[in-house]
């Protein structure tokens, strides 16, 4: 008999499974090693389910045609992520306008194979006008006005977690990002990048701690969420993110030099995640201990 098949692949192979035009959901903590490979490969016309600055990077790098997002703030006092704002204002990206409850309803509808799930938040607002996929309807049980949220079905979901064994049994530290579980349930294919690959025995010591059972692919990338945080491992690298935000802001104002340099240095020149970590440097990384 053949032995059980390992789900471990590397970040380059993982992103080869994504094609132009696919719908890609990106969880939280942010699987940045995979996001950087998407940018490096120059994927195009993606529909991206994401929030914040990783979304901004993908837009700034030209990978995105459509955005499914409830929040694209810049942080650091910048109310709107710069590349998102500019691309949306110019009509270069389409926005599937939603909010947290609508997004999770759509992901859950996909997971359960339903044509829609009802949601109340958004009734009376402009959301169903600016997003015609959301249908206002009268419920057949109590006659109430609700929104029908259609399935949001990622072709691929990309997540970051603490550990997994070789067979895709993922365990988070400090609880999963719960949006991650919605994204994983809804997707055709889920890739989880992890800080560490552990033995199957380690997973079986505490099967109750397994948050995702049987991820399709596991990518081992220590510090793989950098410059974002990874619960139990490191905090967010605010100085790095601020540099990106400044570069993206300057690009939106017509000076793309710093943004081009950022993408060259951190996404295009490093072939692998290990190359990226060398670019960031060991001192910087070790300075990001939790707390």
């Amino acid at each position: 008999m053949e032995s059980r098949t390992s789900h471990i692949i590397d970040e380059v192979e993982a992103v080869r499974r994504i094609e132009d035009g696919m719908t890609v959901a990106i969880g939280s903590p942010t699987p940045m090693a995979l996001v950087r490979q998407i940018i490096r490969r120059g994927l195009k016309d993606l529909t991206v389910v994401d929030v914040g600055l990783s979304l901004d990077m993908l837009i700034a790098a030209g990978c995105v045609r459509k955005v499914v997002s409830y929040y694209a703030g810049g942080g650091f006092g910048v109310p709107v992520a710069p590349a998102f704002r500019q691309a949306a204002e110019r009509g270069e990206i389409e926005v599937w306008e939603c909010e947290e409850g609508i997004l999770t309803s759509g992901l859950q509808a996909a997971a359960q194979g339903l044509p829609f799930l009802p949601w109340r938040g958004g009734v009376g607002t402009s959301l169903p006008e600016v997003n015609p996929d959301l249908k206002v309807f009268t419920d057949p049980i109590r006659g109430e006005t609700l929104l029908a949220v259609p399935p949001i079905k990622p072709d691929v979901t990309l997540l970051h977690a603490a550990v997994s064994d070789a067979y895709g049994n993922v365990q988070h530290v400090g609880g999963p990002g719960w949006i991650d579980l919605f994204m994983q349930r809804a997707a055709d294919h889920t890739v989880v990048q992890v800080e560490k690959v552990v033995a199957n025995e380690d997973i079986r010591k505490d099967p109750w701690a397994t948050t995702i059972a049987g991820a399709d692919a596991i990518v081992r990338v220590p510090y793989g969420a950098h410059p974002f945080y990874s619960r139990g491992y490191y905090i967010q690298d605010n100085a790095h993110l601020k540099d990106y935000l400044d570069a993206s802001t300057a690009a939106a104002k017509g000076d793309p030099a710093a943004l081009h340099a950022y993408f060259a240095r951190y996404c295009r020149e490093p072939e692998t995640h290990a190359d990226y970590l060398e670019q960031i440097g060991i001192r910087r990384l070790l300075g990001l201990h939790e707390y």
Binding site: Y70, P79, E89, E97, G101, L103, G121, G124, S126, G177
Partner: protein
């Protein structure tokens, strides 16, 4: 502790925080979203002064920190270290699974635009949605929160006719719709709706009958005329407009020494 507080020594943001804090009741669950420093200060002030059983929910981090003398919160929305204070944590997706229990939950909302009936807009500004003149950050969770919470406050960092408009270009939350005390009930929205709109110039409430925005009080040194001049629609004006009460010496002492020792609210 200062024995007397003079209005000249206060920033409008400190007056806003103290006003909001007084309106919050013990045992309420106070949910604070991103980028709202005045609200952060208000809930912590209320918690320390009269709310030992309040629950503070910053993003998904639920805490009771009434026994902490000071609380050096990081910029929580972007920093997972805030969970050091948490008794529980709930993340996107998980946060909205218990709306049935939200009658005790209080929320605070900003906006790119706010209209006379307390409808707000975080989507954007401009006639053509496909090419907005200003693209906003998106609705976050405000449509669901405003639908279900017991009541909420609209808190604005600035007061201008660009923000307070006759009609929002897009509505991301439904406050009182096109008006009327039964507007929310007719749509089946269970929450209590917006109670006050608080700005650096004044406090506004909503007429009991038609739920049109009405001047409630002006901060010290501000006239009703000045408020109207900075508002993009005709405010309801009561015959007498009181001055917003300034913080008591005790409130100011706690605010400046325990809640905001770095003076963020004096530098906005």
């Amino acid at each position: 502790m200062p024995s007397d507080v003079s209005a000249q020594d206060l920033s409008p943001q400190e007056i806003m925080a103290a006003f909001l804090a007084r309106d919050l009741k013990d045992t309420e669950h106070l949910m604070v979203g991103v980028a709202m420093p005045i609200v952060e200060a208000a809930v912590r002030l209320a918690h320390l002064l009269h709310g030992p059983n309040m629950e503070l929910i910053f993003f998904g981090t639920r805490m009771n920190v009434a026994d902490r003398h000071t609380l050096p919160l990081p910029a929580f929305a972007w920093d997972n270290r805030v969970v050091r204070w948490a008794e529980s944590f709930s993340d996107t997706g998980h946060r909205f699974e218990d709306v049935k229990h939200w009658h005790k939950r209080i929320f605070f909302i900003g906006g790119v635009q706010v209209d006379p009936h307390g409808n707000t807009n975080l989507i954007g500004v401009g006639p053509d949605y496909a090419t907005l003149r200003f693209r906003g950050p998106g609705s976050v969770g405000t449509p669901t929160l405003s639908t279900h919470v017991g009541r909420y406050y609209i808190v604005l960092n600035s007061h201008s006719p660009r923000i307070l408009v006759e009609r929002c270009d897009y509505m991301s939350t439904y406050g009182w719709g096109s008006g009327g005390a039964d507007a929310r009930k007719k749509l089946g929205l269970p929450g209590g709706g917006p109670k006050y709109c608080v700005t650096p110039l004044c406090v506004m409430d909503f007429d009991e009958e038609d739920k049109h925005m009405r001047l409630h009080s002006v901060h010290p040194g501000v006239t009703p005329e000045a408020v109207q001049a900075q508002t993009g629609f005709a405010l309801r004006m009561p015959d007498q407009v009181p001055t917003t009460p300034i913080p008591t010496p005790e409130e100011l002492h706690v605010l400046r020494t325990r809640v905001d020792p770095e003076g963020r609210l004096r530098r906005m």
